[in-house]
Symmetry: C2
Subunit: 172 residues, 2 copies
DNA sequence: CACCTAATTTACAACGATTGTTACTTACTA
DNA sequence: TAGTAAGTAACAATCGTTGTAAATTAGGTG
């Protein structure tokens, strides 16, 4: 939805345009694409596109969603490449892959500590702040001896639009 | 002849043991089996067995684990029946089905509020207490309008035995 | 630039987890 | 006893994801 990015508009044979747009461009410093290249992996057009789509997404796209956006602009993109790239990015800690129980995993591009709201009807995910003081409190009883690497806070329920849909059914 | 106990149809081979255990016994009040019956669903031998296996489990069995235990005693049990029964129990709020990202879901038989430790290597889940005061703090920004039904706290990392295994590898 | 080679992508099969379908059993009822 | 509703088992199908192997390409070399 952001118009500030490179113009990758679809249309018949978009591949040439795409390559033109990509060739000779340094990926922005700090971007996913830059991280990929710095890691030694090749920055292919497929990977570059996937990185851009993640950065322009609502923040928690699924592999399938990225795939559909990608094929609109690069019809040859394979779903396997999407998965591979996401796994590569996750291995670099450039993204995280979170499973909130809505089927497949979702890309988490917000690496700051935060929590999630998950709608049980439509699967939408939204970020919420989590007071760092709380994170501190989420400790493990010492007798359990568990090496914590990551903390997750997830609130499940109904988003506004799903709640109103359900309200209609019951109330009217 | 009106027996006090449920009239449990005879099954195939391998069921004698089970029927002996079940015959003439009311399911304990408050048990999963009792909840099933109270709900109007029939308390079949399959369902009763699954309920018992859940109650005797470590607290977070997978459907597959329950299926394997079940077939040991009732070889005709189908995996589909396990899934169906788990979904029935979940619909009655007798259990919850939680997805901690370790493949399939797991049965959660502890309905008290608590958090989870999940080992990323072996998938083991352990319960941990979560300070109720923290639960309170996990609120939704008012502008988001989200109807929270459930709160989840999950800590990921390495359990003691997996951490020591990994330590070996690095040290040697 | 033309070429080389390892990395990558693709098409496609396979997989694990779960659900749909449907015929067969069983439980309860009239 | 047959009738009806519920439940089970066998099996196929689905979804999300990964494995495989052949074809393609990126990025360096002369
Ligand atoms: Mn997020
Ligand atoms: Mn638990
Ligand atoms: Zn919703
Ligand atoms: Zn472990």
């Amino acid at each position: 939805m952001a118009k500030t990015g490179p113009r990758l508009h679809a249309g018949g044979a978009g591949q040439r345009e795409l390559n033109a747009a990509l060739s000779g461009r340094e990926p922005d410093h700090g971007s996913l694409a830059a991280l990929l290249r710095q890691s030694g992996l090749k920055l292919t057009p497929q990977r570059h596109l996937i990185c851009q789509l993640i950065e322009n997404s609502d923040g928690h796209p699924t592999a399938e969603e990225l795939y559909e956006s990608a094929t609109a602009v690069m019809p040859s993109m394979s779903l396997k490449t999407v998965y591979t790239t996401l796994n590569d990015l996750a291995a670099l800690n450039a993204i995280r892959l979170v499973n909130v129980g809505t089927g497949g995993f979702r890309v988490e591009s917000n690496l700051e500590p935060h929590g999630h709201l998950v709608c049980r009807m439509c699967g939408t995910i939204m970020d919420i702040p989590v007071n760092p003081a709380i994170e501190e409190e989420l400790a493990v009883p010492p007798e359990i001896e568990f090496e914590v690497e990551q903390r997750e806070v997830t609130l499940r329920g109904l988003c506004r639009s799903c709640a109103s849909k359900q309200g209609e059914g019951a109330g009217a």
